[in-house]
Symmetry: C2
Subunit: 303 residues, 2 copies
């Protein structure tokens, strides 16, 4: 399976991602062997609220990247769907033009995730796509930014998408946008209000940052310039030493997450399901609180 | 602080929630002491995609519950905002009419969360509101359903909100809606297409479930019937024994999360920041992968 992934076999990659999704212990063994082959892909986070046109923009970006002969991996996460499985039919449909292209790998992540939840799965999924030679890994998400290894920690470049209709958001932008967005993108730039938004955002950013990009995912306008912007950002990012720092941060978070995962598997095995159920019962009966119960469990195990 | 929370002091509750948000160790001590006073509140999850009118509906539900002299706690989580802080101005504005009512407690959860992330914070926040005597705790979220202790695990009753405009969603609904929704609510029922959606959803649900509720958060229509529906669901839920099972599941997840949290604090302390940084460096340099590093760390610590 490791060999097949390195040979860019999409079916093997899909199988590995399923193992990751299911928290199969085999996934860890495969990831161990792929790890030394990671670190080459440009990882781009694409975030923005529902309706900002993320999927369509990603489809256009993929088109442009394929024109430049780049291999593309797309990971979508959509927490708007509280439904198991994670794959939103609508999103997939919007990307269907790329389904038959062997150099484009598309995957919606389910989030049954283990201890480290979605962020751990996402991190592992990026590593698989990276190891299989994708030049770009595009991650579509609304709001994983708040998770352990957030999108901002994982991606080289984070695009925040806004639209002329998103009045509420621009209020939100003021609060902390500059902390997460590497590039601001005004999508649906053909709509009324785009020019005003462009000026407002320009003022908001001031002299310190890059001006917002304007795209129309509908007709592909501005997408090529956006790709150039991503390349430029990535180059500056690498030169500034921030890339090194981010990679240290990810490594730190990853090793701690893996320590936590492995420890919890050991603890649960040692404790036994019956003992866990006994504690759960006492907690449900309010004869002990979960925090004290945890202290007692650790004390008993000598941890 | 414990006494003040039990005496329903909103300022004390707000301070405890801040401690929880910041993963302050003091929070655990307070939660321990509040725990025996929890379990009385009706916990209602309100989920649906952005634009489905969750906030406005919650404001209307709160109005109705206040009319019946019920104390209400509202927790909002909005992962559409990748911005630090978590509080979306827009949402808060929509609920401002309740800001001056001492019996309504409103809080947006940030999600810096520890090991168990948002779900752990949310669980703790519900316990605080429950202990402070809220009759209802309404949780607004888009898609925390996929987290460890999801909204479906935490709430007694989960409302899934759809609107006549949400064509995409109804496709998604077919996949797994019945697994999570206790009650389906068609909001914006005054809009065109509501009647058709009602029939479609009715057919989808079949004979097994309750028919969808129709509400108009704009004028408050159907909100009183929805509250009755929630009460009825909660009573049936308690009678069926499922409530007991859910409480066991939450207890189990909580004690394991707390074990994990406490273990990780111990491990990180024992390991030391310098040693963690050394591993992170090696991982970033690709001389070791994070999974093997974790195994070695645990081996060295004799765990």
């Amino acid at each position: 399976m490791v060999e097949s992934v390195l040979a860019r076999d999409p079916r093997a990659a899909a199988r590995v991602l399923t193992l990751i999704d299911n928290c199969d212990p085999l996934a860890r063994e495969i990831l161990k062997r792929l790890y030394s082959r990671t670190g080459r892909a440009r990882v781009v986070g694409v975030t923005g609220s529902a309706g900002s046109g993320k999927s369509t923009l990603i489809a256009r970006m993929t088109e442009e990247l394929r024109r430049c002969k780049k291999a593309v991996g797309i990971l979508t996460i959509d927490p708007t769907s509280p439904f198991t499985g994670g794959a939103l039919l609508g999103d997939r449909l919007r990307m269907r033009e790329h389904f038959l292209d062997e150099s484009v790998f598309i995957r919606s992540l389910a989030t049954r995730g283990g201890h480290d939840g979605l962020s751990g799965c996402l991190c592992a999924a990026v590593q698989v796509l990276d190891a299989m030679g994708k030049d770009y890994v595009l991650i579509e998400t609304i709001g994983i930014g708040q998770d352990q290894i957030g999108i901002a920690g994982l991606a080289d470049t984070v695009l925040v998408i806004v639209t002329p209709e998103s009045g509420d958001e621009v209020q939100g932008l003021k609060a902390g946008i500059l902390e997460i967005a590497d590039l601001l993108v005004i999508n649906k730039a053909d709509r009324p209000g785009a020019e005003e938004l462009f000026l407002n955002l320009g003022n908001l950013i001031g002299d310190t940052g890059v001006p917002p990009f304007k795209t129309s995912a509908l007709n592909g306008e501005g997408v090529s310039a956006l790709i150039d912007g991503i390349e430029k950002h990535r180059a500056e990012f690498a030169a500034s030493g921030n890339h090194r720092q981010r990679s240290l941060d990810i490594s730190r978070a990853q090793v701690l997450a893996s320590v936590g995962d492995q420890l919890m598997v050991k603890v649960q095995r040692k404790l036994g399901e019956r003992e866990i159920a006994r504690w759960a019962q006492q907690i449900a009966d309010k004869t002990v609180d979960p925090y004290t119960a945890a202290e007692k469990i650790l004390g008993k195990m000598g941890l």
